[in-house]
Each structure stands twice: as structure tokens, then as C-alpha cells.
Symmetry: C2
Subunit: 160 residues, 2 copies
DNA sequence: AGGATTTCTGCGAAATCCGCAGCGCGATGG
DNA sequence: CCATCGCGCTGCGGATTTCGCAGAAATCCT
């Protein structure tokens, strides 16, 4: 189980329209059979299987179950905006290494970094934000947005 | 294909530890066979299958392919913080109805709403933010954070 | 306790997954 | 020019998984 996380080192692995179509199929249903996908994109079952495996290995996509953490036992979730001085990438790396960080993005705007965190409870969240994120060298300040309710969560950008 | 989107109407469908364990398995690999999951959680193959189907039907989880849109052809992606006056839920509903909105959350903090959008290019993004989101009744102002680079994207909160 | 409902189990049949050998094709280089 | 190599696709069986169903077991409600 070497590389669990996505290959976030944007290698832009050149995706042709067929692979795009395969991804679209799997965005609708991650368990759709290879044969059905093949029929939809005009490829044999084995070819689809090989392409999917490669896309997974390359980290271009992952096939997973996604949930709303708030409905599955986690009490507190938040988006945290981070102001950084110095090497943003290094700070991003450090925060991404934390288990509680689900989502880490470098952005252009008043925040240098946006981080989504999942916590057990208020104490845990306080600990993560104040003791861990703010302790990372280069973090100047943070601003938190605690989640009240998830209204939408989709992955079907391809199907429109 | 009645309800494609998650049941975001927090019905808190009471999940026992076995369903939690099943979700964990599928967070690691959305295509893991039911028999393997059953062995891991102590249930028969058929029982796992029934539970998974129910979790999907209830909208508690979805099994899908997730990608980094920036590596799959979409040029621009952003997080948009929204200040709302009046009925926040209604505004959230309206924005969630837009195809470009991938993720909509009501939050406590300086923003009432946080929205993640995926766009084809700069023009498209400008159109979505200025003409569509800001046109929703109740939206007082917005602040945008354009994505530069996705550093981490995980769904394995359960495996720690 | 009695009955209704839900959940689990244990099949057999059908469909799917998986590995492998072979073929076609473009690029490389002698 | 042609041989070779790399790479992706196809077409197979065999192993595995999925699927539907009927009965047993557990749970809930009155």
C-alpha cells in the first residue's frame, strides 16, 4: 500500500477523451461494471479495466465512498483559511500531513491556503487549529468557518 | 434514477458500528467486494450487500470516482465565501441548484455560506460568480479564492 | 405473547472480474 | 527500408463476485 493519497504533484498525465468518458461513467457510479463502461465509451471490457487501473495508479482519480462526516459521528468540521509568510508549499505539506486535514488547497486570494478539517468534538478542533496548524512555521494567522450543515456534495462535473 | 444527489436533509439515520465499519472499508476502496467487506466486519456477503444498498439509497454515502478537476480539463476552480442577509437556507438552496457548484456548506463564521465551484475558464468563472451567485436574492457580497494547486484530498476519516 | 417488520443467512444462476497470450501500430534506430 | 521495441487493445477461459430469492432469526410494537 505504497501511495494511498493522490499524486498531487500535477503531472498533467494527458487524458484523452476516452479516459475522460470513463471517468464520467465512474463519477455517476463508482461500481459500474467495466463491460457497461466499455459499451458506453466504445472499448472492450479489458481495455476499460486497464485504463481504470492506470488512472488509479497514476492518482488521477480515486474510487471511494464519500459521506457527510457530520452525519457519520464526527461532531465538528470546519474550513480554515490560512495566512502564510514564506514558503506556502512547505506549510501546505506540513498541514496535509495531519490526519484531521481532509482537503488542502493553495489559493490566490486573501488566504494563501484553505484547509478542511474533521474533528471528533470541540476540544479536538481547538487543539488542531490552535496547537497544530498555528504551530506550523510560516503560519501567520488563521480564520475558521465551522460547518453547520452540508447542503450539496457532488462529483459529477463531467455530466453536464 | 430518482434521487441522484445526497439526502442533505440531515435525517441522522442512526448508523451502528457495523455500518460504520462497512463505510470505512469502502472509503479505502470503493470497489472492494462484498465478501471481503463481510469478512472484515463479520457479516455475510448478502447482508453487506443489503446494507450498502440501503446506505446508498438513504444518501448516507455515495460511491464515486473523485478527481482533481484542474488535472482533468477544467481550468478554473475556486472557493467562494458568501455573506447572506435573510434566509440563508434559501440562498444555499438556490446556489446548490447550479451545476457549477460542487460543494455548498452553511457555516458559522464571517461567511454564512461556503461554495466550491468548477469552471471551464476565466470567463465562465466570472459569469458564475458575478452574474449568477451575486444575483441570488439575499446575497450581500462574496469573496473568492481561486485554486492554484490541490495538495491533499482524502476521504478516509475512518481509518485513523 | 402474538404478529408484523426488518435483518441476516445460505444457496444456485448469471454476470463480472482477472490474467494472459496474441495482434496491430507508431516510434526508434540500425 | 525494415527489424525491433513499447504500448494499448482484443478475445478468451477460469475464478470470483454479484444478484435474487426463500427461509430462519432477531427486533419492534401493541
Amino acid at each position: 500500500m505504497a501511495s494511498r493519497n493522490a499524486d498531487t504533484s500535477n503531472g498533467a498525465p494527458h487524458l484523452d477523451s476516452v479516459s475522460l468518458a470513463i471517468i464520467e461513467q465512474l463519477q455517476e457510479d463508482g461500481r459500474r461494471p467495466y463491460a457497461a463502461i466499455g459499451k458506453a465509451v466504445g472499448l472492450s471490457e479489458a481495455a476499460v479495466r486497464q485504463r481504470v487501473q492506470k488512472l488509479l495508479d497514476q492518482g488521477v482519480m480515486q474510487i471511494v465512498a464519500v459521506t457527510d462526516p457530520l452525519t457519520v459521528g464526527f461532531r465538528r468540521q470546519a474550513m480554515v483559511g490560512v495566512h502564510v509568510e514564506g514558503d506556502v508549499e512547505a506549510v501546505a505539506e506540513a498541514i496535509a500531513a495531519m490526519d484531521e486535514a481532509e482537503y488542502v488547497v493553495m489559493t490566490a486570494g486573501s488566504f494563501d491556503l484553505i484547509v478542511e478539517i474533521v474533528c471528533e468534538d470541540d476540544d479536538h478542533m481547538l487543539e488542531v487549529i490552535n496547537r497544530r496548524i498555528r504551530a506550523v512555521p510560516g503560519v501567520r494567522s488563521t480564520e475558521s468557518f465551522v460547518y453547520l450543515k452540508l447542503k450539496k456534495q457532488t462529483y459529477m462535473w463531467g455530466t453536464r
